[in-house]
């Protein structure tokens, strides 16, 4: 197995040990999942959104590595009190900056977290049959990456099934 050294920084270690906003939210307005456990990487966001399209509360659960836990946790911190339009502007790079940097092999964790956030925002407007002008019709980079990872997981598990049947 090839391995890269993973010098996680103190911020990531702290979020890993004491994740903020961890846990299921029963009264969430919207939830969104990204990733696939077959890739060892899956998160769920719970957002409580008020009538002014402001995120009042955010929480998460994560199946993944320390970087996955830390980036998910920091996104829930970042979006708290934000208008959805502003939350939409959060980029994966700003998430990685917010956790104090990540080894490059772990960039996909930040990308996946933002992918899940964007899915949640889209789902919220879709449920309300609204399409604000700032919300692009096209998938953003992070959403595409999340899809790509999920498709890869799908493909790998199909391939495994085929081999089993052989």
């Amino acid at each position: 197995m090839s391995r890269a050294p993973l010098p996680y920084n103190p911020k990531i270690l702290e979020l890993f040990r004491n994740p903020k906003n961890l846990g299921r939210m029963e009264d969430a307005t919207v939830t969104a999942v990204a990733g696939n456990p077959s890739c060892g990487d899956m998160i769920i966001f719970y957002l409580k959104i008020n009538d002014e399209d402001v995120i009042e509360k955010a929480s998460f659960e994560s199946y993944g590595c320390a970087a996955n836990i830390a980036t998910s946790s920091i996104v829930t911190e970042m979006v708290k009190g934000m208008k959805l339009e502003d939350a939409w502007k959060i980029s994966w790079k700003s998430v990685i900056d917010a956790v104090g940097g990540l080894p490059s092999v772990k960039f996909h964790c930040g990308i996946l977290a933002v992918g899940a956030l964007k899915r949640a925002i889209r789902a919220y407007y879709k449920n309300r049959r609204l399409s604000p002008g700032w919300l692009p019709k096209e998938h953003t980079f992070e959403e595409k990456q999340a899809l790509e990872e999920e498709e890869l997981a799908e493909m790998l598990s199909k391939r495994m099934k085929m081999e089993e049947e052989k």
Binding site: P10, L13, G40, Y63, G64
Partner: protein, 407 residues
């Protein structure tokens, strides 16, 4: 980057106990072995063994004595059958490529199993780019190679079969003797190599009884220093070098011999074989205490590899469902328990351990796998400490997964 590492280390301050179980990836060298090596750095035998002066002759004598110790415990006929290399990786590279070179024109087929270590698997992949056909024999749910498929795979074109004696990840003790007989029955000219790094010093293993052509052994896997291993090459088997340069006492590996490391390897070997039966029984007891403890205390776990006598006495490999392995190794480390995982998490490929996938484990089972190896230096108290730490760590990581469905 270095600051981050320093902070990570600081987070470990004040641990009440530390238990190192990651012998698969590196090992702590016991004091007796270190003490045996020390004089050879600067007091004696620091010369080049091929040169005509006292420190050189001392080095020559020392290397021969070390070869002899290893040759004896391995069951060699002559000292020349032991060829020191810088480790298991290099010995496996030499076995495969050296055979491919020396058997040039005699066939293009190489047979290995699906669960070989990467130093066999990747070399085979490399050779496939140079015109060799690689056949990978599948294994069953416990990691035992399919002997029927092996029989079908070996033909007149087969120059080499390479199968581990004990699997490095899941501890399966392979039927190498039967495998070798099948191979030689199909084609007496086929060279049979076994990576015995996880067998040597842990199960009875004797190259003459087995009648193998080539066998790899590794120093750190028996608690010797890293940076040294050996390839057994049976007398009369042709083998070509894969590196060229100044050839000294080691005809298959150029460069200046590392006498202190060779001494450490021989010392580790001597210690592993002194009270061999007792050592093995102790390891087995600790292994089962660990396996039974984890299975008894934690729900949704799965042992990878066989149980009982068909499992290497030191190997514990368990999958914790709903628990990602990298996160778990960090949590365990922060509590003084050092292990490794077959999770894909440190790779961008998203594919976990090939061994666990080959025995039919689902990806989520492989991602949650933890590999541990016990040694004769561990105590029941060490294992009990691990059994105190692991359930808490698994519970915390599973708590982060929370209500998510992980399938």
């Amino acid at each position: 980057m270095i600051e981050n590492i320093r902070e990570l280390l600081k987070a470990h301050e004040g641990l009440k106990r530390e238990v190192y179980l990651d012998v698969e990836n590196s090992s702590m060298v016991p004091k007796e072995v270190v003490d045996a090596m020390l004089p050879y750095f600067n007091q004696r035998a620091y010369g080049n063994p091929t040169l005509t002066h006292k420190p050189g002759w001392e080095a020559f004598e020392t290397i021969m004595e070390s070869s002899e110790k290893i040759a004896t415990s391995l069951g060699c006929k002559t000292l020349e059958e032991v060829n020191f290399t810088p480790g298991e990786t290099e010995a496996n590279n030499l076995a495969l490529m050296g055979t491919a070179f020396s058997m040039k024109g005699k066939g293009k087929r190489i047979v290995i199993s699906e669960i070989e270590p990467l130093s066999v698997l990747h070399v085979a992949d490399l050779l496939s780019k140079y015109g060799f056909t690689i056949v990978k024999i599948p294994v069953d749910g416990e990691g035992f190679i399919d002997l029927e498929k092996l029989r079908e795979a070996v033909d007149k074109e087969t120059i080499l079969v390479s199968l581990s004696a004990v699997n490095h990840e899941i501890g399966t003790i392979e039927p190498v003797k039967e495998a070798l007989e099948i191979v030689k029955d199909r084609n007496p000219k086929t060279i049979f190599h076994t990576d015995a790094s996880d067998a040597y010093g842990k199960i009875p293993f004797n190259v003459q009884d087995l009648n193998a052509d080539l066998a790899t052994i590794s120093s750190y896997k028996i608690l010797g220093p890293r940076g040294v291993g050996a390839l057994y090459v049976k007398e009369g088997v042709n083998m070509e070098r894969i590196l060229e340069g100044q050839i000294g006492t080691q005809k298959l590996w150029p460069g200046v011999e590392n006498t202190p490391l060779i001494v450490g390897f021989a010392k580790a070997s001597e210690l592993a074989f002194k009270n061999f039966g007792e050592n093995v029984n102790n390891m087995r007891r600790l292994r089962d205490r660990l396996i039974d403890g984890i299975i008894g205390k934690i729900p949704d776990v799965r042992l990878n590899g066989p149980k009982g006598d068909k499992r290497a006495p030191d190997n514990v490999n368990i999958s914790f469902l709903r628990c990602e392995g990298e996160a778990l190794t960090i949590e365990l480390s922060l509590n003084g328990v050092y292990v490794s995982s077959g999770s894909a998490c440190t790779r961008r490929l998203l594919q976990p351990s090939h061994v666990l996938v080959a025995i039919g484990r689902k990806f989520v089972e492989a991602h949650g796998s933890i590999l541990m190896k016990v040694t004769r230096y561990h105590t029941a108290e060490d294992i009990d400490y691990v059994l105190e730490v692991v359930p808490k760590a698994v519970e915390r990581i599973r708590g982060i997964v929370g209500s998510m469905e992980v399938k």
